[in-house]
Amino acid sequence: MAKTTFSIYRGDSEGGQFADYQTEVGEGMVVLDCVHQIQAESAPDLAVRWNCKAGKCGSCSAEVNGKPRLMCMTRMSDLPEGETVTLEPLKAFPRLRDLVTDVSWNYGVKQGIAKFAPRAPDAEDGTWRMQQEDIDRVQEFRKCIECFLCQDVCHVLRDHRKHGEFAGPRHFVYAAALEMHPLDTADRVEALKEQEGLGYCNITKCCTTVCPEGITITDNAIIPLKERVVDRHYDPMRSLVRGLIGR
């Protein structure tokens, strides 16, 4: 069987360079299999973060030939045959070592979003009633595996480095799931505008394109959130009423 060449970023927070490795690619192998094989054969200290190897945990995010992908769900047979495969870490986050980045910023952002606050239970036994059609949309958002590929591809984070002012697509999906949860009573609209920088998103839909769970991030989560912000702050009728009653 022919060997494939992998050009893999090796380095740490100080810097690094690409190194070439060759390994044999068997039937059905995914990129992560090749990385593991290279570890076992020639680079035991090659750092890679992974876990389930089934596209369910979102740990093995990296850039494969420049595109943000889950390495466990990228089949070698889908890449151009005979060409070198380039692997490098996500660009939106600080590099730790080789393919591993420091994604801890995301955990801090999530913690800053107001938590789920349910209304009083509907039934005497302390439970609620919800119709399936009312939760379908939120269930779509809750498919998110927190791989942060959407964060990586978003130019507001990737190019403009607005990490201090912009929560990123992942957290807009999280906020949307809470805002559209039939039981939730908290209000996140003000924070989305002021702290989480929702306005920076100019709807290029890159996040939707890379989402391995197929969540329609822009259309279903971000745009409805933007509409809520607009309704609250820029509704002309409401401004008029406010002006008339002096509030």
């Binding site: 089934a54 740990s59 439970t127």
Partner: protein
């Protein structure tokens, strides 16, 4: 040598899957200082892989269900080696724990009345599994994570514990390293909850991720705790078999719950050929009745595809070994056939089994709404683990608790699907509650520097042996040994050979060398994990050797039948005074009179 960081907690939870997160939340609610250590990033633990659902007798779909039926199903599935008190607590408390998840934001699929929907699963008499499509585990871990981060729990991500510390008989903390920088950490704690999951990485074909190296069982054992039921490993009947690189990845039992059927290469539904006597009364004897069951007909009995996992896995092995398997060494699992019989056809399948559709499409290039899947057994779960008190989850070491997969007792010889997610939240909660209580009622602990230094020394030793044995090679050989010699079909000779091989691999592991530095170095991490993998492998092989019968997950071709005598004993394991592993028999706890009556009534 000195550690770089020291931490001090009342309760330290090791592992952040469903059980660990639930334990940490409960302990924090008791007002004590809680630390949570996990090997991966938060929210990535193996709980995300759980697909089918969480078993709880909510009785939303069939009002004949109750804790009694759930208890009886669990005991029957476990072949009565279960700890009956744990099975009772589990059946009684699971519904409340599931409702609590909803109060924390979980969104389960709904019934028409707007209640939590429940689905059929193997070994459960009534539709009992609350679920979210086939990604229930993700929903559960995310709910616990998103709730947990607001409870004042201190989380340490990508930190691996390498040794527990003792203050006299009592646990006093642990030594760990962080993956990112390779720095040593000393955690001092009044009580510790082990919630580290299973041992699947000891096998070649497994549904488990790299984390499942038996840390909890092994660390507890080396700290003097007893293990129980280690011979009972669950081989899930349906893992992917093709392509080779994804062999072992789980195919949820939910496929069969939705009407998926198993066929051999001749197209025959072979599960009808072998229905165990104790399940005959509740199993359909024809295809038409089985399908009616899957569609919710309360008068129909369940199809034989939904018999217990141990049995289905063996039937699949029999077909494969008999030359009646699929091209890649499995059998066919067909859910596409239901299309003409359900509204929506292919869309219905995608809606009910979205992850499975996605998984086969992406990894195998197969559309499960059009063609059958190829499946075969995969190492999935260990019923055995740390021996704990049923009510408090405390091990035989004071202050050391265990919950979830790394604890033993609830499942006996075989676990029912769906009883794992419920196990996590029922006993995770209890472990957290009693660990907090223990921390409050018992004073501070002293750290023994000699123990700390010995542990740190053990961890760093491989760096001094650069040209020695390769950690990946030892791990690989161990996985092959366990797969081939202590797998789904076992015998005396092979298992004795396995014990010898594990000892030889331990000698090789002792001279493993590591290159590179301490920052995020997978070669080093693999070297350190070997000790735990070897310990649990030896425990599995030694317990299995002594059980000269077949029961549940443990099948011996030299003793293919159940033996009444073994039906009354569990195998316990402890580290002897000479450092050698000792296996001994303990009597299965006797059920209370009330529970005995329930078992009798339910058959």
């Amino acid at each position: 040598m000195a550690e770089s960081f020291t931490h001090d907690h009342d309760v330290l939870v090791i592992g952040a899957g469903g059980a660990g997160l639930r334990a940490a939340i409960e302990a924090a609610a008791a007002g004590v200082k809680v630390g949570l250590v996990c090997k991966s990033l938060l929210g990535k633990a193996h709980t995300v892989m759980a697909e089918g659902g969480v078993a709880a007798a909510l009785a939303h779909v069939d009002d004949r269900d109750s804790w009694r039926v759930h208890f009886a199903d669990t005991m029957r599935g476990g072949q009565y080696l279960n700890n009956p008190r744990m099975a009772e607590l589990h059946a009684k408390e699971a519904p409340e724990r599931v409702r609590e998840l909803e109060a924390w934001g979980a969104l389960f699929d709904r019934t028409r009345e707007g209640k939590i929907l429940q689905r059929n699963f193997g070994g459960h008499r009534y539709p009992r599994l609350a679920h979210v499509g086939d990604r229930t585990g993700l929903e559960m871990i995310r709910t616990l994570q998103d709730h947990g981060i607001h409870q004042g729990i201190e989380v340490f991500m990508e930190v691996t514990v390498v040794e527990l510390l003792k203050d006299g008989d009592r646990v006093s903390g642990c030594v760990a390293y962080d993956r990112e920088r390779g720095k040593m950490h000393l955690f001092k704690a009044k009580s510790i909850v082990m919630a580290t999951g299973g041992i699947g990485r000891a096998y070649k074909i497994t549904s488990n991720s790299w984390e499942y190296t038996g840390d909890g069982q092994s660390l507890a054992y080396h700290a003097g705790a007893e293990l129980l039921d280690m011979e009972f490993v669950q081989f899930h009947p349906t893992g992917m078999v093709w392509p080779p690189s994804v062999r072992g990845i789980l195919v949820t039992e939910g496929v069969r719950g939705e009407g998926g059927v198993l066929r051999n290469k001749a197209g025959k539904r072979f599960m009808f050929d072998d229905i165990p006597d104790n399940y005959k009364a509740q199993t359909a004897d024809n295809e038409e009745e089985g399908w009616r069951y899957c569609q919710g007909d309360k008068n129909a009995r369940r199809p034989p595809e939904l018999l217990t996992r141990d049995h289905v896995a063996r039937c699949i092995m029999r077909e494969v070994k008999g030359g009646r398997g699929s091209p890649n060494g499995g059998v066919f699992l067909d859910v596409a056939w239901i299309k003409p019989h359900v509204p929506g056809g292919a869309e219905h399948i995608k809606k009910k089994l979205p992850s499975m559709y996605h998984q086969f499409k992406e990894l195998a290039g197969i559309d499960i709404t059009q063609v059958p899947m190829e499946v075969g057994p995969t190492t999935h779960y260990i019923m055995g683990g740390v021996r704990v008190d049923a009510d408090t989850q405390m091990s035989t070491v004071p202050g050391l608790f265990a919950a979830g997969e790394c604890a033993a007792g609830l499942h006996g010889a075989n676990r029912l699907g769906g009883n794992s997610l419920s196990d996590l939240i029922v006993f995770g909660k209890r472990a957290g509650e009693y660990a907090a209580k223990f921390a409050k009622e018992n004073g501070g602990v002293q750290i023994d520097r000699a123990q700390v230094e010995a542990a740190e020394c053990m961890v760093l030793e491989p760096f001094g042996r650069s040209a020695a044995e390769n950690a990946y090679a030892v791990q690989h050989d161990l996985q092959n040994t366990m797969q081939d010699l202590v797998g789904i079909v076992r015998n005396e000779g092979e298992m004795a050979q396995a014990v010898d091989k594990v000892a030889e691999l331990a000698r090789r592991a002792a001279v493993v060398g590591v290159s590179g530095n301490r920052e995020y170095n997978p070669g080093w991490h693999t070297a350190i994990d070997l000790r735990n993998l070897l310990t649990v492998s030896e425990a599995v092989a030694r317990s299995a050797l002594l059980r000269k019968e077949s029961r549940g997950g443990h099948f011996r071709e030299d003793y293919p039948d159940k033996d009444k005598r073994f039906g009354t004993v569990n195998h316990a394991i402890r580290k002897g005074a000479d450092g050698q592993m000792e296996v001994f028999e303990v009597a299965v706890p006797t059920p209370s009179d009330e529970l005995q009556a329930v078992i009798k009534e339910m058959g």
